[in-house]
Symmetry: C2
Subunit: 189 residues, 2 copies
């Protein structure tokens, strides 16, 4: 969240920010921000604040976002295709360098510059040094596909299927459930 | 989160669940779960646990998900189209009953059964009693579109544009930043 806010502020030509200004962006209280930043030795200058570019570099390095990361997309349906063409991944250094699907009509076709491969050959990821996967398959095949991905050496999964994934403890899953997020809104309207 | 987990468990033919079983699903400690549920008078039965159907009904009613909710989609690009056809919204009672875009080539065409309207006529939402919007437009038009939505009486926005939205205090925004979520993974892999 800090990273995203700081990148946004940098784009808007800001060089320095105080913890109270940043607090407004991230909805975290200024003392917490100062505490968090002090963990990696970032201390603001009185009356000037924090050097934004410096903070971005620090956080980028902590999050291992300072070198390009290859990711595989599993599922070339409407959502997968939209994600594949989504320009926002570049800001974080991500490149979708492999796409898999099980539909024979899709295999061999391209999204952008990347050819869709048969999901049955997903084990080729082991040789290609791809550790990240974006899972955009229907809920009913998500778990079996995940098992194959883990087998192929994937250790980080961004799960867009509305379901729970059972993975070994050394595999990290982040789930985005768009319907659930929308489900939080009626309470407020 | 509780709602999603309980719906999942109900689909898997479970009638009762203990707070420790539920804890495994939602990654929240059992005492916290018992405390949360006690707020709305849900108390498990010793040796049996909580009645799942009953909990679902309670939470659905608290979150105002117990009656159908109409939502408008703004932006009929690849992501918007994928969302529009996404079956997962139905579980929460959502129906996308209006779609807007600014592209003359898209206006008048249909996604599913819904005709794409000109985003210049977004003020018609006032008369149609639609309070929820899903925003899937590029970041550079997100803020101006949001201002028009607020003007048209929208009070809940699911924002899929990778940017911050400035809204009045009575408007609730939930932002899903898919790239940021993926950005959390390299640290672990």
């Amino acid at each position: 969240m800090y990273f995203r806010a700081l990148v946004f502020l940098e784009k808007n030509q800001k060089d320095y920010i105080s913890s109270s200004e940043l607090a407004e962006f991230v909805h975290i209280k200024p003392p917490q921000i100062r505490k968090d930043f002090s963990y990696f030795g970032a201390f603001g200058t009185k009356g000037i604040g924090y050097d934004i570019k410096n903070l971005i570099n620090e956080i980028q390095s902590i999050l291992k976002l300072d070198s390009p990361q290859k990711a595989a997309l599993i599922g070339a349906g409407k959502l997968g295709t939209a994600l594949c063409l989504f320009p926002g991944f570049k800001a974080y250094g991500f490149e979708i360098s492999a796409i898999f699907d099980k539909d024979p009509d899709k295999i061999g076709k391209k999204i952008g510059n990347t050819t869709i491969e048969d999901v049955a050959t997903v084990d080729s990821l082991t040789q290609r040094n791809i550790k990240l996967a974006i899972l955009a398959v229907p809920a009913n095949t998500a778990q079996s596909t995940t098992a194959e991905l883990v087998q192929a050496g994937i250790t980080g999964i961004l799960n867009l299927s509305p379901c729970y994934l059972d993975v070994p403890p050394d595999v990290k899953v982040v789930t985005i459930d768009i319907a659930m997020e929308l489900g939080a809104l009626p309470y407020y309207i």
